[in-house]
Every structure is written in structure tokens, then in C-alpha cells.
């Protein structure tokens, strides 16, 4: 099986994101630091499998967000995301 056939999207990272942001982040609009295009978190390409969450820009493959859960805590690197627009919770 080709790796590409097993690819998930950012919706598969909803749980990992909620543990950090305490908010559903899949609808957050994230701007790529590489190509400056904005995408909903849920459509980012999700790699990394059991080692961690690696979310890449669907336009240019830049790594936009990385999360690894370890016994000592969760590591997150968002240096590939320039801006996140997190929508208001519905009232």
C-alpha cells in the first residue's frame, strides 16, 4: 500500500488539538508560514502516525503544526503557522 493512500486529514487530529486548546480546532483558519495561504485546520494533511501529529499545508507541504505526547507532557510546534483564527464558540 502506498503511503499516500493511508493519508489522514486534520480532522483526525481533533482530539489531540482539543487536549491543548480546549476548543474544537478543526474549524480554525490557519495561515501557512510557507505560502501564506489559509486553510481550515481540518483540511491540513496529517502525517506522523503513531509518533505524533504532523499537520502540513495542503498547498505547499510546509509543516504547519506538530504535536507529540510524551510522559513528560505535550510538545507543540506551531512555527509553520503564522496566524490562527479561532472561531467563537456557538452560543
Amino acid at each position: 500500500m502506498r503511503v499516500e493512500e493511508m493519508r489522514l486529514d486534520g480532522n483526525a487530529a481533533a482530539g489531540a488539538l482539543r487536549e491543548i486548546f480546549a476548543h474544537d480546532m478543526t474549524t480554525a483558519l490557519v495561515t501557512c508560514a510557507g505560502c501564506a495561504r489559509a486553510s481550515p485546520m481540518g483540511v491540513l494533511m496529517n502525517y506522523g502516525g503513531p509518533m505524533g501529529v504532523i499537520l502540513r499545508c495542503p498547498h505547499c507541504d510546509t509543516v504547519m503544526l506538530r504535536i507529540v505526547s510524551t510522559p513528560g507532557g505535550r510538545y507543540m510546534d506551531a512555527s509553520g503557522s503564522s496566524v490562527m483564527l479561532i472561531p467563537e464558540r456557538p452560543t
Binding site: V3, M51, T70
Partner: protein, 208 residues
């Protein structure tokens, strides 16, 4: 009296456990070759592919695909251990010893430094002490199981450092940076252990 028909015969002929001492702590044996990647699989044209060893001063030596394939080859057989807990025994590789490449680099004036950063197509990096890629411990592998190394397993060429967790064996490798200071790689920046010895179960930062 006949045996219980609901207990499959195969239960008793299940594959025996790994020989004692062969599985590092917390690992299980698999006969598959699971694929784990931090990004899309690159497929660089071999005519444009090269491998470079560079020091921190900018001195470098470069091999084309044909140059690399013309170097003396070795065929190491090794057990490999992934940090996600699978181990695979007796994997058979073909490639060039990193010793061979470093000797050529030194002859070309590339300075030896105590740390190595492996760099790959797609931006992946991993860091190792120089001592862990010398003295017959590491290869640039381009063959697996008698075939060219498949792209999903790191082809055209990957680093092979079987004595450390397999994320250190960078897929799609394009070069080694020889550095005076240690520089954490892709996973090492993000909480994975800086060294990654499977026998000491060094999975995450803070593990002994």
C-alpha cells in the same frame, strides 16, 4: 476424547517468542515492515539526486547517484527497532558504509566534528553523535531484501543506524552535516529522546 473443536489447532503452533535477549525492553517482533513517515514520499529523479557531506565551515564533498553506486558496497544484516514498539529481525540491506564516505570527505578537506545532522528530502532531519555513525555502525543504504530500496521505506537511499531507534535511520537522505555542536532534529526537537538507545528504552526526553 476428542480435543475441544473450538480451540484452533493453530493456537498451539503460534510463532515462538523471540529468543531471549534479542528484543529490547517494551518491543514486540513483527514480520511486516510498517511504514511511518512525517511527510509525503519524495520521488527525486536519480539524475538530479546527490549526497553531500558538509562541515560547519562550508567545505563539502558531493556524490552523484552513480558516484555513490560505484563505491565499495556492504550487505549488513541487522535487527531494527522502531520507537512505536515494533522490532524486525534479520533485515538485509545493501549500501555504502558511512566510514567510506567520511574518509573521502576528510581527504577532500571536510573538517571532522563531534556531531552529525542527517538531512533528507522533504525537510526531515535527525541528529547523532559522530561516534554512532563510524566504525561500521552506519550505512547509506539503497538496497533492501535484494531489491532497490522502495520509496516508502526511504528509497532511493536512507541512513541505516540499526543500533538506535529507527527514526534515526533517516529516509530519503541527501546529506550529513558535521557540526561542532549538537543540533536536535525533527523528532528530537519535539520531545523524542536525543540519543534513542532501544536497549535503554530511550524513547522520550527524560528517559534515562
Amino acid at each position: 476424547m476428542a480435543g475441544n473443536p473450538f480451540i484452533a489447532r493453530g493456537f498451539h503452533s503460534r510463532r515462538p517468542a523471540a529468543p531471549p535477549g534479542r528484543l529490547p525492553p517494551g518491543q514486540y517482533e513483527t514480520r511486516d515492515f510498517p511504514v511511518l513517515s512525517a511527510g509525503p514520499t519524495p520521488r527525486p529523479p536519480l539524475a538530479a539526486w546527490d549526497f553531500t557531506i558538509r562541515d560547519s565551515e562550508g567545505h563539502s564533498v558531493r556524490w552523484s547517484w552513480d558516484d555513490l553506486r560505484a563505491l565499495p558496497r556492504e550487505t549488513p544484516t541487522a535487527d531494527i527497532h522502531c520507537v512505536t514498539k515494533w522490532s524486525k529481525f534479520d533485515t538485509k540491506w545493501e549500501g555504502v558504509s558511512v566510514d567510506t564516505l567520511l574518509a573521502a570527505a576528510r581527504s577532500a578537506g571536510v573538517a571532522s566534528n563531534p556531531f552529525v545532522l542527517a538531512v533528507s528530502d522533504g525537510g526531515y532531519t535527525t541528529n547523532l553523535p559522530l561516534a554512532d555513525v563510524t566504525d561500521g555502525k552506519a550505512w547509506i543504504a539503497f538496497g533492501y531484501g535484494g531489491e532497490p530500496l522502495a520509496p516508502e521505506h526511504g528509497g532511493p537511499a536512507r541512513l541505516l543506524v540499526p543500533h538506535l531507534y529507527f527514526w534515526k535511520s533517516a529516509k530519503w537522505i541527501r546529506g550529513l552535516r558535521l557540526l561542532p555542536d549538537d543540533q536536535p532534529g525533527f523528532w528530537e526537537q519535539l520531545g523524542y529522546h536525543n540519543y534513542g538507545d532501544p536497549w535503554r528504552e530511550q524513547r522520550y526526553q527524560g528517559d534515562p
